[in-house]
């Protein structure tokens, strides 16, 4: 079997609590040894000055295939994942048609295999056609490899259906990921409701729109003992509710996107549609609360919510632009710049939220560098200073709110199953 030695890097493996200068030996698709390695390998990667982390996992992306291949494909999304340092991503089912049956989940694996870059796992739709009426075949989807269930893009508005989803998915040990939003409160909103929506005259989406559904879902998760994962939390109230629920033992995890902790609703004063997403950029007080929740562990995972849009659709009046921004290729440097550099999170804490934590949410035996684990590894230069240039992105789309940001930290080499995938 082919062997690869990653020599002399700072090995950070939150799953085992390791943070030390060490060598990592890969043997075929598995990790063979971590520590001091003296034996010869077929290939040696010098990692001095670099961080050697488990392959990063982004558990919330939209890859648009099938249906909108002009915006992204599973192949281009895989390339963007590798460029961003991610060895594994989980893609949301809001494609056309939706991933709501066994065949469509298998199609995702097939296309990922053809791309042969990153591990791509489908998330199945909770309801058939994401229609919010009838449960999808959650059992068959699970058998086909779906790692979670979500109608992301939409909330499961019907509380009874949400209850049933939580109960039913329990049989397969799968999390239900809810996009928490009360559409009656969001209505025609296009940005956070607050001072800036008032001065700009743009319809607001109140924080309560998210919080009432988080509260409902927590109540249902408690009642059913199902497993809830709250997608893209964005408000102070949401993290307070989740913190409280975790303290009383509710089986809940949650995630935050880079744009929600790094940007505020003030960005919208530029009327640039690259600041339009759902949930919207929130107030400075919300951002502060998200950072506290990241630090105290209330927020388990950091994700991109990578949502590609064609320029002709996105580059229009703010009011008419679709929601969503891309982020796989900017996520890691934004985490370094906005969380690690200012001391909100340590390197091991940040890496945990992009490796072992999402792996645990999705029940994947990944996200660790322990012996015998999959040889998915991301090497990071923590000191690299660079400017985010969206024209260099591997994604097919360009709608990134971090374009032009001066950042620190960059993935240098990415290995999946022992193979170098970076060019």
């Amino acid at each position: 079997m082919k062997t690869t030695l990653i020599r002399g890097g700072r090995v950070i493996d939150p799953a085992s609590g390791r943070d030390e200068i060490a060598d990592v030996l890969l043997e075929g698709p598995r990790i063979a040894r971590v520590g001091r390695v003296t034996r010869k390998a077929d290939q040696v990667i010098e990692a001095e000055g670099l961080i050697v982390a488990p392959g990063l996992i982004d558990m919330h992306v939209h890859l648009r295939e099938p249906g909108k291949q002009e915006e992204e494909t599973i192949a281009s999304g895989s390339a963007a994942a590798i460029a961003g340092g991610f060895t594994t991503v989980a893609c949301m089912p809001n494609t056309e048609p939706a991933v709501d049956n066994q065949a469509s989940a298998e199609f995702v694996f097939l296309q990922a295999e053809r791309a042969a870059l990153a591990n791509i796992y489908p998330i199945g739709a909770i309801t058939q056609g994401r229609g919010g009426k009838v449960l999808s075949e959650i059992g068959q989807l699970s058998r086909a490899g779906a790692v979670a269930f979500s109608d992301d893009g939409d909330c499961v508005a019907n509380s009874n259906l949400m209850r049933q989803a939580l109960e039913y998915a329990k049989m397969f040990d799968k999390p239900i990921i809810d996009h928490c939003e009360d559409l009656n409160l969001s209505l025609d909103g296009v940005m956070h409701e607050g001072y800036y929506s008032m001065t700009l005259g743009l319809p607001g989406i109140p924080a309560a729109s998210e919080e009432v559904m988080v509260a409902r879902d927590l109540t249902l998760a408690e009642m059913t003992a199902g497993y809830l994962h709250v997608a893209h939390v964005s408000t102070k109230g949401s993290v307070a509710l989740i913190r409280e629920a975790k303290a009383r033992g509710v089986s809940v995890t949650c995630e935050v996107t880079a744009h929600h902790f790094a940007l505020t609703d003030e960005c919208v004063t530029s009327f640039d549609p690259c600041y339009k997403m759902n949930p919207p950029l929130r107030s400075a007080a919300d951002v502060q609360a998200l950072k506290e929740a990241l630090a105290d562990g209330t927020i388990d995972c950091i994700v991109s919510d990578h949502a590609p849009h064609a320029s002709e659709e996105k580059e229009v009046e703010f009011s008419y632009a679709p929601f969503g921004v891309i982020g796989m290729e900017s996520l890691l440097p934004v985490v370094v710049t906005a969380l690690i550099a200012p001391g909100v999170l340590t390197w091991p804490q940040a890496i945990a939220k992009m490796t072992v934590n999402p792996a645990r949410v999705l029940r994947l035996a990944k996200g660790t560098l322990s012996v015998g684990a999959d040889a998915d590894v991301t090497l990071i230069d923590p000191d690299a200073s660079w400017t985010i240039d969206v024209t260099k992105f591997r994604s097919k789309s360009r709608n990134c709110p971090f374009a032009g940001w001066k950042v620190k930290g960059r993935p240098t080499t990415v290995l999946v199953a022992g193979e170098i995938k970076t060019s």
Binding site: Y195, S197, M198, L200, G201, L202, P203, F271, E317, Y320
Partner: protein, 322 residues
């Protein structure tokens, strides 16, 4: 000689007006606001002449790019541009043509390619004027962008108040009605506050946007309590249905709580000024006897709108304040 000229240029005070666009009143200084008002005053005189025309914009092309239906604002800009001797082209586009595929940017660039100096834009989307100013070489004047700003309406309101009262500082102005969706309210608030007026917004709680106190305005839900204290009341047009939401129970209840009628006005200061940006819903937010009464400046606002828009077109095309 040349040296002295350079030195003199260096010492010359920075001109008050240097903007190529008028996008909103939020970004203007009080000096800039006064420059527009003073210039408008000198242009108002033109309208009293038998030949109502000056050559200030001769050879320039003004396009009225209206993505939202408008009669009075479009007509006012049209006439203002013509009085400045500009060539005027009107371009009205219904929202439906947007769905036919051409983007706002493409439409604007196509029109500019015909050689345009000033684009006056009305649009349903907030920020549309700012967007245009970024992509076009031409000057851009915002004639209303969604619920964001309507700077020339704000200016003509302030011009009309100043003309009647002689000053703005120290006055108390009530803006009554749909504050949430009103671009007029926002432009009025920015302009009036910068010039030293006090502003109180009055309306149903469902139509008062959150955080508006941060603009330094007072909020009230009680028109009768406010009316005796104010020098000016600006009454906004009301709509029961706004973007699919019912904002208050009925027109009848609204008129009872917030409509301006003769009885209410009788408890106000005798020299109160009544403004309305139009078009009015007679019998809803304003009764006919108030609209046509002695305290009403509603038609004067329309007349002044012309002078204000002449001033704005003149200044954004490089003219210096008069």
């Amino acid at each position: 000689m040349a040296k002295r000229a350079i030195a003199a240029a260096k010492e010359a005070p920075k001109p008050v007006w240097t903007r190529r666009h008028l996008l909103g009143l939020e970004e203007l200084s009080s000096d800039e606001l006064l420059a527009i008002l003073d210039t408008a005053e000198s242009f108002k005189e033109v309208s009293t002449r038998s030949i109502k025309k000056v050559p200030a914009l001769q050879g320039k092309v003004v396009v009225l790019l209206f993505f939202e239906p408008s009669t009075r604002t479009a007509t006012s800009f049209n006439l203002a541009a013509k009085r400045l001797s500009a060539d005027v082209v009107s371009f009205s586009i219904s929202a439906s043509s947007v769905s036919k595929g051409e983007t706002f940017n493409d439409t604007a660039k196509n029109i500019e390619a015909m050689g345009v100096d000033i684009v006056v834009v009305r649009h349903t989307a907030p920020g549309a004027a700012l967007l245009l100013s970024r992509i076009l070489e031409a000057s851009v004047v915002n004639a209303g962008d969604g619920s964001h700003e309507h700077p020339t309406q704000g200016l003509l309101d302030i011009f009309t108040i100043r003309e009647a009262k002689g000053h703005i500082a120290g006055l108390k102005v009530a803006i009554v009605g749909d504050i949430l969706y009103s671009r007029v309210a926002r432009s009025d608030i920015w302009g009036l506050k910068k010039l030293g007026a006090e502003v109180v917004v009055v309306g149903p709680a469902t139509l008062i946007p959150p955080d508006i106190e941060k603009l330094g305005v007072e909020v009230s839900y009680d028109l009768d309590a406010v009316l005796p204290d104010v020098d000016v009341v600006n009454i906004l047009r009301i709509q029961l249905e706004r973007q699919g939401r019912s904002m208050f129970p009925s027109i009848r209840e609204y008129a009872e709580l917030f409509g301006i009628n003769r009885e209410r006005l009788a408890r106000a200061k005798p020299d109160i000024l009544v403004l309305h940006p139009g078009p009015m819903n007679r019998g809803v937010e304003i009764t006919p006897e108030v609209a046509d009464g002695s305290r009403s400046l509603i038609l004067r606002q329309v007349t002044n709108g012309l002078a204000v828009r002449m001033a704005v077109l003149y200044l954004v095309s490089g003219g210096q304040p008069r």
